[in-house]
Amino acid sequence: MQRLTRMPAKVSRRGFLAGSGALVLSTTIPVRAPKAQEAAAGPDVPAFLELHTDGTARLLSPFIEGGQGVFTTFAQIIGEELDLAPENFTVTSAPPGPPYGVMGGFRITGGSASTRTAYGLMRQLGASARAMLLQAAAAEWDVDASELTTEPGVVVHAASNRRAPYGDLADAAMALPVPAEVALKDEADFRWIKTAVPRLDVYEKSTGKAQYAIDVTVEDMLLAAVLHAPRLGLTPASVANLAEVEGMRGVHSVHLLNGAVGVVAEKFWQARNAVAALQVEWTEGEAEWPMPADFSSDSFRATLSEASGDAVEIEATGDAATALSEADNVIEAQYDAPFVVHGQLEPPSATARFNEDGTLDLWLPNQAPEQFQGAAASAAGIEPAQVRIHSQMLGGFFGRHFLYRTANPFPQAIAMAQATGRPVKLIWSREEDFLRDAPRPLGLARFRGAVGADGPVALEATVVGEGPTQRWYGAPPGPDVSAHEGISGKSYAIANSYVGQVPVANPAVIGYWRSVGHSMHDFMYECFLDELAAAGGLDPYQMRLNLLSGNDRLHTLLTRTGELSGGWQSGPYEVDGTTRARGVAMASPFGSEAAAIAEVSLDRGEVRVHNVWTVLDPGQIVNPGIIEAQVQSAVALGVSQTLVEELVYENGEPTARNFDGYPILRPDQMPAVHVDIIESGAEMGGVGEPGLPAVGPAIVNAVYALTGQRIRSLPLSKHSFG
């Protein structure tokens, strides 16, 4: 019995992005679209691709580079079909506009969706451009295009031994109409796709030449800093020492903003100093989500724990309630995970310049150019068409740079540029970033289960809380997958299972964090599954294999993970004078499948992770080097949040305002990461996020195997061991 059709994981929050945040249930990510034959005319080659007379190409990427390697991946895909080596590409972010709405009329950089969404389109763009080059050469040589072939960067007419570099044909080719249909290469002939093409940006990023939003310089610009109200909802009533601050060296002007005071100066350090000197009287203001003055993460965790409202059914198989009522031994547990900040190393910034014609240029980090364009137009009181968005390389994102209203600096930069009549670059200090970040929501789930000799017979899970997709795109409980993914969407064959959600609004301004709901829910589910294994006297690895019998893809994945680790063993066992143990977990995030085994020991009472063995099956791959790097990166963030990360609120404010009060993973805490990739041939899944969710539960399950302590609340650093 499945009374509510389960939303496929790939829908996630993306289904709610179209139409100004309206709820559009029918919209899902067209992972395979647009196919060549679906396009009435050919793809809009000139909107995406420039061919230059020096033989190089420029790609305007619909997705933004922030470390995940999408610029390189796209150059690789287009280069494959165009027959031009990827290193001949320069790639920049496309401006806002309809040609770039490649996710079915919209686009965001997120959901591990870029490559799987645009793979077909990128191939088609490359193939179309190659066909245009062939056509141009055919006209030049007065031969039929069918007689022509290419080598990388060169059109060849073998019959007459004539050759023309792409650069010589570029102008003529780009003036031709885009062919309506082109043939794509046979995969067997791939030269670059499925190989570890080096990153295009690695030279700039190894020499300090890479430019981020924070590095933008505009002629005649002023620099700005802000001081936010300590609690969201307060706003400045007055500045007691206004004249003094206005008189500080370099200070241009002081601005009372909604919920903050800004200082504009000749240099950033002057603005920052002036902000530090401000004596602001705060008063209750108007905020969309004012933070209650007594809000704390502890009290909110208690609120979730005690919430007793009706659950919305997410998915159900069999009859879990009856099975549990008939079970001899029902295992119950409650899990929670804290608020966590994004902690991208580049602090947020925005540079705003109004032009004489009334238009606005904005240089800023973002993951959704059209949404930022619309919001910037509203903030400036002009039309979206009057706003030019210059999307910059992101110094990390992990979900930080979606449109989060109070978490984005650009409205303040716009206000101060308007007030001063000068271009303004606003940089948020790390303290302001922590204060106004939209953290991953604190989450909580309750479980009940029963286990028999062959494994779990019933599992009932109730997630309590609110997901970011409900907050930002109005998705109701149930369809808002971000609120329960990782507890819903599991693949284990448990005869009686139920997943529900008790909706409880989160007073904090919450956001998307790498792997979103999966980042905590897989921890909760996979650890509870281990509790059932322990209660049934079953091995957690073997029990999972049994629950996956008949599921070839996942059975293979878990088996491969066990092999990668040298053969499954739980431990404890001795290595190099330390006692270690291992845990295992799985996840099905963003269209991919992942499994992880972690090895831990205790070091002076703290958990140390020595090794993580993880296998990712994204179905189909483009760049195995970038995939391996992304999995290593996701593992690092997974280890970090499991070991040490927690944003604590007290009195409506986060208690940590910088990395000195909010530890993130250090190099000496980084485990050895062993990555394997399975290309199962399934539909292409995501890569950037799926390596994360299985890591935390693998660690926590290993801690149980080592210590017998069942940790149900993250991070591990708040617990005592040994």
Partner: protein
């Protein structure tokens, strides 16, 4: 106001002595390779060298700079990489790349002092340089690789 020697050139910085070197570089001289990450010496993104010693430029006032400053711009360019930067490229270390200037300046100081560091010595020297993308294993591999190439040279 100070005359600083930066990457072998004398540069006049028209800012008060108490301004941190980080902002003198970025704001005063538009040398943006050195990055602002936290402002409290908790992340290492702003690491430069003074007389070969790795320092957090957000914590050193311009007036207190005691020697020659070397920044990421001073040790190599895309067309003329240092051995260390070449190892960074070979190992495809960078992801978002934002912390890597600081990582490379810290690693360069380590190798100048210890031409053949162990894993533990690398972790110790690099412990204050955070990378949110988790490139730590590749950083360590690149340092080992550069160490052996420097010794061959």
């Amino acid at each position: 106001m100070a005359n600083l020697t930066i990457n072998g050139e004398t540069r006049y910085v028209d800012l008060p002595d108490e301004v941190p070197l980080l902002w003198a570089l970025r704001d005063g001289l538009n040398m943006t390779g050195t990055k602002f990450g936290c402002g409290v010496a908790a992340c290492g993104a702003c690491t430069v060298q003074i007389d070969g010693e790795a320092v957090r430029s957000c914590q050193v006032a311009v007036g207190d700079v005691w020697g020659e400053v070397t920044t990421i711009e001073g040790i190599g360019t895309p067309d003329n990489l240092s051995v260390l930067q070449a190892a960074w490229v070979d190992h495809q270390v960078a992801q978002c790349g934002y912390c890597q200037s600081g990582q490379i300046m810290q690693a360069a100081a380590l190798l100048a002092e210890n031409p053949s560091p162990s894993d533990a010595e690398i972790d110790d020297a690099m412990s204050g340089n955070l990378c949110r993308c988790g490139t730590y294993p590749r950083i360590r591999a690149a340092i080992h690789d550069a160490a052996s190439k420097m010794q061959e040279a």
